[in-house]
Each structure stands twice: as C-alpha cells, then as structure tokens.
Symmetry: C2
Subunit: 674 residues, 2 copies
C-alpha cells in the first residue's frame, strides 16, 4: 500500500526485494546495509477481507542486529521496519509511507496536495570499493564502476568530467566506501556518475522551477522521500528591462548585449531563489542534484541563452521545441557541479514549457472527459482535449485581467478590492478588500479600510464587478452601460459620451468606466475565441471540465468568469482553480522521469492552432464580445445564475451596439506586447 | 579496391550506395548532392582474371549534370567519378583512392607508412532544413534533427549545450542549409551534434597526440580523407619542474598548486602544438573536431588534472585506467568548442596509454607469432604476446640509455657520438657524430668535427660502445674492463681500482668508465629481467619478433642491443624499430573508432605483471648482468656475430665478479625517479 500491488514470495524474502519485484519504488541508498534508513515500511495489522489475508507483525521477521543498530544510532519510529532487513514470514499488508523523514528534515506543509509516485532521474548508491592492488591494476574509477555494476546493476557508466580528478581523493577520504549519485534519465543513453561523496551520503534534492514573466516560483524537494522541503517565489528581475514580454524582446533587439543581460538576470534570479529555498529548507546547495525548469517560450529561450527575437514576429519560430537536457554548471546555478537540468518541451511559439507543465499536471491526455486547461496571463495558453486528441493555442488577452488598461486597476495587494456584489434592486455595491475578511457593509469594515486603504480593483474583482454589472442590468449584453439608470442611482454617471459606475467614493474615487468594460470584453473575447477555435477543431460543443491555472485562475470565481463568457459553459462544480499547475508539472517531472517521457510524447501529438491564421477567429471574437456570448448557450450557468434576458439578434449581425472590431494589425500588436 | 570487397547490385545502383552496403567506408558530406567531392572513385579498366570480370568505364553511367557542375566549379581529376552520382551499369572494379584532395590541402609526405582504414567518430552531414511553419511549430533545432534522421539516419540526436543558442542564427545564415558534425563514438550512447556551420562545410580534422615526459608529438589529420596534414613535436615544458617523472611528482607533492601548474603546462603545450600543426597545415583550429591523446600514466593523469602522487608509490594506483571520453573545451585546447577528446586506456600504474597506443599500432593481439614490444624510456614498457594471450610490465631501466648516469653521456644532438666500432686486433675505435655522415677514420671527418665538436656519447652509441668493448674483449662477460689490456693499448687506463677505455681525446676527453659499463648493465638487466618474467609467464623460451618503439628504439642498432642482452635472442631481421608507435596508435584510434573498441578490449585482457612483486625478478636481473646473459642462449645472434667464448659458470652462482646486487629499496628508488 498505497499502490495496491500484491504478489507471492518465498518465506525469508526481504520486504524491499519483494517491493522491487512488484515494481514498487522503495528508496535505498545503502544497498541493504541497514544504514541509510530510507527503506522504511509499516506492517498493517488486521484481517483484510479484500485481500483474504490476516496481516500481522508476527508475519514479519523480528528485528535483527542491523535494524537494532540503526534504531540505536539514528532512531526508527514506532512501528517502522527497514524493508532491506525485515523478511517475509507470512501474509502481510505492507504500507510504504510517503513521509519517511531521515536526518530531521524541516517539515512544512506541502505546497501541493498530491502524492507523486517517485522514480527520480538521480539515484544515490553506496558502495564499498576494492582497494588498489598491484596485481590487478584497475584504476580507482574503474574499480568504483565495477562495484556500481555488481551492487546496483549499472554497467557501462559514464562519469562527469569534473569528477575524474576527484575520484581518488574521495575514495581515500571515505576509506574506500563512497556514495555515488547516478543520473539515468535518457533511456537510450548510458547512466552517468554525476557526484560522489566519501562514506554514506544520505541527502539528494532537486528543484522544480517555473520561470514566469512576472514571478519565478520554485519548489525544493527531497529526491529520496519526495517531500517538498521549501517553496518560494520572487519577482523576475527582467522586469527592469520591460514589464511585458515584448518589451523585453525589444530590449534584446535594441541592445547589442541585451540578450546576455536578460539571460544573466534570469539565471542570477534562479540562482538566488535556489539559495533562498535551500536556506529555508536547511539544505546544502551541493546536495541539489537535479532541476526541472518550465517557462513560457521567451523565458525558456532567455534562460538557455537563446535570442528570443524570432519569437516576437511571425512565424514565431522556436529555436528549440523539444525537451532540453543540460548541465547546471554550464548555467552557473550554484548547485552541485554535476547537477543536471531538464527543461520540458515547448508546445508552440506562444505555448511554452509552462503550458506543457500544466498539461502534465492536469492530465487531459490521461482522461476520457473533455478537459479545457487555461493559463491566463497577458497571453492565455489554452489546451483542450482528452486521451484521444489534444489541441493547443495561445490567445492575446492582453494585460486587462491583471489590472492594466483598467482605470482603477491594480495588482493584487492589500487594499485592493477583490470581491464585488451589486444589489440588482438598488444598484448598491458591497465589496471586500485584500487584507480584510469583512464585506464593506459589515461592522468593522471601515476600521479595516482605514488601515488598509481602498486603493483600486485587482484582477479577480474586475471580473466580478463587470459580471455583477451585467447581472444587475447596469450593462447590456453588448457591454454598454445603460445611461438611463442614472435616474435610479447616482452611481451611474455620465462622462462625455459614455457612462460609468461608481464603485467606491473615498480618498480615491473607484469607478468602472465604459472603457474598462470594453477592455475586459476585448480580453475575454480573445480568450473565448481561442477556446472556441479549439473546440471547433475537435468538433465538440461543450467541455466536461475546466482547469484554471496560474495566479489569476486561482483567484477568480468560476461563476463570474462564466457569466462574463470568459470560459465556455460547464457544470460549475467542474471548474477548478489549479494554482501553479506549470510548477506542479515541473515537480512531477523532477520526481519521476516517466513523466518526462509522458509529456514529451504528449507534446509531440498535441496539435497546435495558430489563432492568427484561423479565418474563424475573427467571427468567434466578435461573437464573444457579448455577455456571455452572442450565439453560444450557457445552460449550466443559466441553471445556477439568473441571467438577464438575451437581446434578440438578427442572424448574428452585430449592429451598431457592437464594440468596434479590432483589426488584425491591432491584435497582432497586442500579441507582441505580451 | 583496396578492400577487395565485392557484391552484386541492380543496374543503376549508385556506386556510393553499393560501397556502403558492402561496408566500405566512402566519405560523403553533402549526402549525395554531388557538391562536396569527397566520394571520388576510379574505375579500373581491364580484364580481371581473379574476379572473372571485365571492368570498363563503359560499365558506369556517363557523367550527369551534377557531376559536370562539380567538375566545372571545383574540378574533378582525370578519371575520377563522384560515386554518389555515378551508377553501376555493368561489371566494375572500383578503386577508392586514399588520397582524395579537396580544397587544395597542403600535401606533405606522410609521417607514417601505412594506410589506416577510416571510420572516424566524427561525420559531417549536410542537410537542408524546413523553414519554420506556424502550423507545425517544431523548433529550429528539432527540424534540423528531423532532417539528420531522414537524410542520414541519426535518430534521437543529442546536441552540445553550447550550440543551443547558436542553432537559429546558423540556420538562417545558411538559408536553412547547414552542415552538422555528428560525434558517435560511444556505441551504447546517443550520437551528438557537436558543431554546426551554415551551408556546405567540407573540412574536418583531428589531432593525435603522444604526450611524452620529454617530447610531445602530434599529427594533424583530415578526418574526411585520412591524410596527415602536418606532424610536429615540441619539448614538454613540464621539464622545468623536473627532468624525470618522479621529480615532477615530487613537485606536485611539495607545492600546493604544483598539480595545477603541471596540468596547465602540459595543456598549454598541447594547445600551442595544435596551433603549430594547424598553422603548418593551413587548417582553421575550429575545424579540429576530435582528438586522441596517449601518454604514460603520469602524463595521462596530469593532462586530465589528476594528482599523480599515487603513481609515485606502491601500489601505484591509477585514478582511472579505462579509456576517457571528455570535451576539448573543458581542457581549453583552442580547437572547436564541441570537439571531443578520447584518451586510450592505461594498462597499469607504470604501463600507460602510450603503451596501449603502441600495442594498438604493432598489434601483438592480431597475430599468431609471439611479439615482444618494448618502449625504452627511463621506464621501459614491455608488452609480450600474441592473439591468444598478452602480458605487460614495466621495468625501471633508469636514465642510463638516455645518456644520464654515463660520464660522457649526453642527449642526441649535433656533435654527440652516435655510432662506434672497435677493432678487436688494435682496440682502436672509429665513430660517427651526429651532423656528419663520415666515420672518424674517413677523410673530411676532422673538418666536420671542427665545426660540430665531439661533445659526448648519446644513447645509441652507449649501447654500441659497450657492445663493441665486449666483442673486442675489452670487457668480460661480467662487464669488467680487463686491466691487463693496458699493456696492448694506451686506451685502456687505470683510474683508482678500476679501468676505463678512452674513446676520444680532443678538447674533451671521452672515455667509457667501469661505472659507465655498470650503469648500462644495470639498465639492460632491468629491461631483460622484465622481458624474461613475461616470457616465463607465457611459458615461452623465445620470441618471434621484436618491435622497438620510441626515439631510443629508433636509433639503436638491434644487433648491438642483442649483443648487450638488452633484448632476447631473435632472428635479427625480425627486430624492427617502429618509431613513435604510441602516436601511430593514437592516429589509428582517431581515424577509426573500431580501433578504440579494439584497444579497450585488448587492454582489458592484458595481464599485468608487477615486476617488483615477482620473486623471480631478482634472479633474472642477476643473470642479465652478464653479457649478453649468464644463462640464456643467443643462437640467432651467435649466427650473425662472433661472440666471445662464454665463461664457465658454477650453477649460475654469481661469484665475486658479479656486480653488486641492487637491493629492492635501491630499485624502488630508481623506479620512483622515472
């Protein structure tokens, strides 16, 4: 347990051997010497009707001298056994705990809520090497290889160049006992000795990193237990070269050493963040042996030192789309010299390794149901499909969802409005601000607001306020603020030829203008039109489940996203915020190299749609300008929310009330900013 | 021809395809586009009774447009055809020339006299890559890989990290046509793109380098034609840290940064020598893509940056004995960033990659006859065997053969005596000096000597003078200068309790002293005792053929070496000086990776004898002090040379006339100096 695998073994078989022969990965560094403590298991006692057996501690061998010694020296928790030493004496249900703690690691709340079955690319192997013998003049390294073959089955090992001058010293320091870190990711290639320590070395870590244009997020995880030791994030320092991606590409194009500066900035930041998570986790950076990196195509290229200029213009050619295997030392990340780096494949010029990571995490390719996976940033990355077929695209949503282009918009920070409700009868709003748990009409809110300020509207609230304005009739299906309502509420105010809605009057006046509504309409139309294209490509008229990834996806209320028509109609209980799914995918690829092969194969068969080249995009875009949509039905949403009566349309013609069409040039320009 | 392979092919088969399907390696960079000119062949005209066919230019297709174009643009020599374009139309005898010259390479006399069948680790592959396509967003590198798979059959290619940021620029510069250098040495590993050029790139070179303690020798060779473009040598600058190996090891032990200094010195020298051969050959160092290095264990270790201290003391543990694959850029050799380095395996702590190279060159393992291969330096490396079994050892000969420890000894340089004859009747000598073709009793010699000086005795002459002294009766079988002869010749002179022989009286007096004779006896005894141990190990009482490698081996006269008993008795016509066989072996491994596998397998099965640990060594050493030997017969030598009558021995007892026995400590000290 928990894998549920079962088998029959001769009495006396070590539990570790039994687990391995069933394909259950149980760690062991010391090779069965009962010194590393990594192979702990527990016997479940009782009658297991399902398995038709009675499992008992009487059916496992008593503690031997080696286990007793380990318990004395290192301490073995109550009920735990070392599976390398304990042997099967009868029927047993064996639990392989997922939280084996050795060396009193700092234990934190896990940043993700799933258990990832481990099969990491790096394995620690303790061996005792023959001393040199004049009669058999095999070199130190060669005798080490002999033992790694004999004890661990690694034949024909390569060795990292930097280790060659160190092997003899390490062997002697360890009195001919050493622990080697073996990296064996590439199935078609030889496994490689990437690090070597004297004696038993019982620590191996990896980092999983998502390089976003704004934020770099990282997990530090034990490769031996799968435990997340620390998770942290920091701002991407490339921001000083430009807020959005295209301004960074421009910087590269305009400055002879721009590419080098941006590459250095991001590598330095990843190095710094690595130092930070290592410090938080109490981990020596030299024990970090593997890294998995994801990022959008421009971050991916800049991290690798590739000029991203080609990604800023059609045909948006990636320099490399497949997965990349490289060496940490080449990139200067400050971890073990032999550490490897694996970068997930990119899907297309605007759908990067981050989308691949999110795909790996959410797994549309592992299910029959039709899944829509959306990572909303300034460019939305969209993946749609199931185990039969998957399509992907990006859509130029622009920065409106992040509060830019919105008159009172701001980043999510204390004092920003994050939730909004509007009473359809009175048109009076109530809202919540970040930093307070109270609604604005609740007692005590004013005191909180005094402290925090009420400073603007963050992304999630922009969705909600526009959706609530629609639900309360302040704006029409076409997004026009109804000036006639000025008679009912002083919050509806005329400004020039259009109207606005006053959300809050304090030190700062916070209003939603007609232009704000238009910006949200444009952004959500771009996203929805992309989704529609993919749905058309697959010939489906609905999706079964929706995963909203990224920071924005984590904070918006799915209901309001659907009221706006940002996402297609779907059972609301099937719309999930999945957080940093890209980072989770990186973590999966770090802990289990089978996931690397899985995402490589999956990306290979994902069909890429370039929205700019699809003639239907324009029509989908125009239809999607309406709330929630000019033509598409939202039956699930209608069952959950009272939608305003739909205006009659004349054959889908858009008429005068339709927001101005964006020309392709305008949209291209927008795309390139992102 | 010249491989002699034959087969039947359908009419219309390109000659290149036919050759390949027969396993005949014919180069082609352009992939059959008739632009690189590397695949030239010639039709042999006539009736070939052996093959029972008539071969004629009428049986090959006429020149097509592509061949005509190549001839116009680049020039195709008379009679030559491009085998990628010419097709089989009837019976043909095809000659694959070994001297195809493209790009008007500088042509020099080959430094070695054999043709090495080529199968280099590096292959150049020209491909035309699809342009980027938004509908199929495969990256530049990935589309390149697709073509390298489709056109050249390389699937699953790795790519050198340094190229990743360069791929997109190179593809665009070449208008989507590029030439990739593929390295594919490790059979169990993926082939790797190590270099990339825009357009057709038609040059690829390699270096084969023998790092000796005194001299570094290098060949620069075209990997595409096998032609040696330049060969050169230089002094090993490590000499400033110590003349002999042990003094360099001492320097490492005594100085904290000694190892780094010695490593830098040897790498800098190899870099400098590479620059020199490239300049001589008119080759851009960026076109050097592969390197094979050999050297004795201490040079091997220092070049790799490994502390050689362990090699200076028992058990003489090599840090690495197997072959080493590494990257030129890690060692800073100034050749292409992606270039690889292959180092041949070491045989034992005192029998290095140089001995492995010599073994590969001379090939005892490829023949039935019993071959003795000796590389005489300050440490003699000895390999003995045939295809059934091979043994190897080193013997601490000391520097006597190089002129050190000899009163009038000097390095080979103008003015040094290099040949000596002594008239047995008069005991008068005649000799030759380096720089003059005349014997000292010939007219004109005095004028030459006036110019050159007569400065000392070099290694080859030391062998000759002691052998001639023995043949003329001046010294006894036991090496004692017969003082009684002073009555017959004033050249026999008493000095204290011993005598000496005056070879030349000029500005400098050049004599051979009793101590000089003793030094030569000790050196040759060490060598011979090592040989005898190996012969005993194999249970043979004679050898069929002897190869003398190295500079010393190239200059000594086999007859005199045998008179001295330096080498065992053998048909004199079977004793060959083979020059720098270690360098030739390196060249073979450079031009044909099959030789790498061959020497790896061979070294693996060579049995190593540690002479210091063999109880019989002492007795063989003592027996070998006599000239030519106390117990062993030299029937082949006796047939060619009149040997003095052998003194009666009492059961091999050594008696008073035996030179003092060296204690083991003394020999160990000597070994450590080397």
């Amino acid at each position: 347990m928990p894998s549920g695998k079962r088998g029959r073994f001769p009495v006396g078989t070590p539990v570790l051997d039994a687990a391995r022969s069933l394909g259950v990965y149980v760690e062991s560094v010391c090779g069965g010497r009962a010194t590393c403590g990594r192979c702990q298991v527990e016997v479940q006692e009782g009658h297991f009707a399902k398995h038709k057996i009675v499992s008992s501690n009487d059916h496992i061998s008593a503690r031997g001298a080696k286990e007793e010694r380990y318990d004395r020296v290192r301490g073995l928790p109550e009920g735990r056994r070392l599976s390398c030493s304990a042997t099967i004496q009868g029927d047993l249900v064996i639990d392989v705990p997922q939280d084996t703690v050795v060396n009193a690691q700092v234990v934190r709340k896990s940043a993700i809520d799933r258990i990832i079955e481990r099969n990491p690319a790096v394995q620690l192997c303790y061996v005792e090497v023959d001393e040199p013998d004049m009669h058999k003049p095999l070199g130190d390294l060669d005798r080490l290889k002999v033992m790694l073959d004999r004890d661990w089955g690694f034949d024909n090992l390569l060795v990292s160049q930097y280790l060659i001058p160190q092997v003899q010293g390490i062997l002697r320091k360890g009195s001919w006992a050493v622990t080697a870190a073996i990296h064996r990711d590439l199935e078609a290639s030889r496994p490689n000795i990437i690090a070597l320590w004297p004696g038993l070395h019982n620590e191996a870590y990896g980092i999983a990193c998502d390089i976003g244009s704004t934020t770099i997020a990282m997990h530090l995880v034990s490769l031996l237990s799968g435990r997340i030791v620390a998770s942290s994030g920091m701002q991407n320092p490339q921001i000083r070269f430009g807020e959005d991606l295209m301004s960074r590409v421009s910087y590269v194009m305009m400055n002879p050493d721009g590419r080098a500066q941006l590459t250095k900035a991001v590598r330095d930041a990843v190095t710094e963040l690595t130092r930070k998570v290592c410090a938080e986790g109490g981990v020596d950076p030299n024990n970090v042996l593997d890294a998995v990196i994801v990022g959008n195509p421009i971050m991916h290229h800049l991290f690798l030192g590739i000029d991203p200029t080609e990604l800023g213009q059609a045909p948006f050619a990636l320099a490399v789309s497949g997965s990349v295997h490289t060496w940490a030392s080449d990139l200067g990340l400050g971890i073990n010299t032999g550490a490897r780096i694996y970068m997930l494949p990119c899907i297309a010029g605007h759908v990067g390794a981050d989308a691949a990571g999110a795909t790996l995490s959410e797994g549309p390719h592992r299910q029959d149901r039709m899944m829509l996976l959306v990572d909303v940033g300034t460019n939305a990355e969209i993946v749609l499909g199931n185990r039969n077929r998957i399509v992907a695209a990006s859509s130029p949503t622009g920065p409106a969802f992040e509060g830019a282009e919105i008159s009172a918009g701001q980043r999510a920070a204390p004092g920003a409005i994050e939730r909004v409700r509007i009473d359809p009868a009175t048109l009076e709003p109530r809202f919540k601000i970040i930093g307070s748990d109270l609604w604005s009409d609740e007692p005590g809110f004013d005191a909180d607001a005094e402290t925090l300020g009420i400073t603007g509207i963050c992304g999630s609230a922009i969705i909600e306020v526009v959706a609530e304005m629609f639900l309360s009739g302040i704006i029409s299906e076409d997004g026009v603020i109804d000036g006639a309502l000025a008679a009912r509420s002083p919050r509806i105010r005329q400004t020039g030829r259009t109207h606005s809605y006053l959300l809050h009057q304090g030190k700062q006046e916070i209003s939603v203008t007609q232009n704000d509504v238009r910006a949200i309409q444009l952004a959500k139309s771009a996203l929805y039109a992309g989704v529609k294209l993919l749905m058309e490509k697959l010939g489906v008229d609905h999706v079964d489940t929706i995963s909203l990834a990224g920071a924005f996806g984590s904070f918006i209320d799915p209901k309001y996203a659907m009221v706006l028509g940002l996402i297609p109609d779907c059972d609301l209980s099937e719309v999930k915020a999945v957080g940093n799914a890209a980072g989770t995918g990186a973590l999966m690829a770090l802990l289990n190299r089978d996931y690397r092969r899985e995402i490589e194969k999956t990306v290979h068969r994902i069909e890429k749609i370039e929205t700019a080249l699809e003639p239907r995009f324009q029509q989908h875009f125009v239809n999607a300008m309406a709330l929630p949509n000019k033509v598409d039905a939202f039956p699930h949403l209608a069952a959950a929310v009272t939608l305003p009566a739909r205006a009659t349309t004349v054959d889908g013609a858009t008429g005068d009330s339709t927001p101005r069409r964006r020309s392709r040039e305008e949209r291209d320009a927008r795309r390139n900013r992102n």
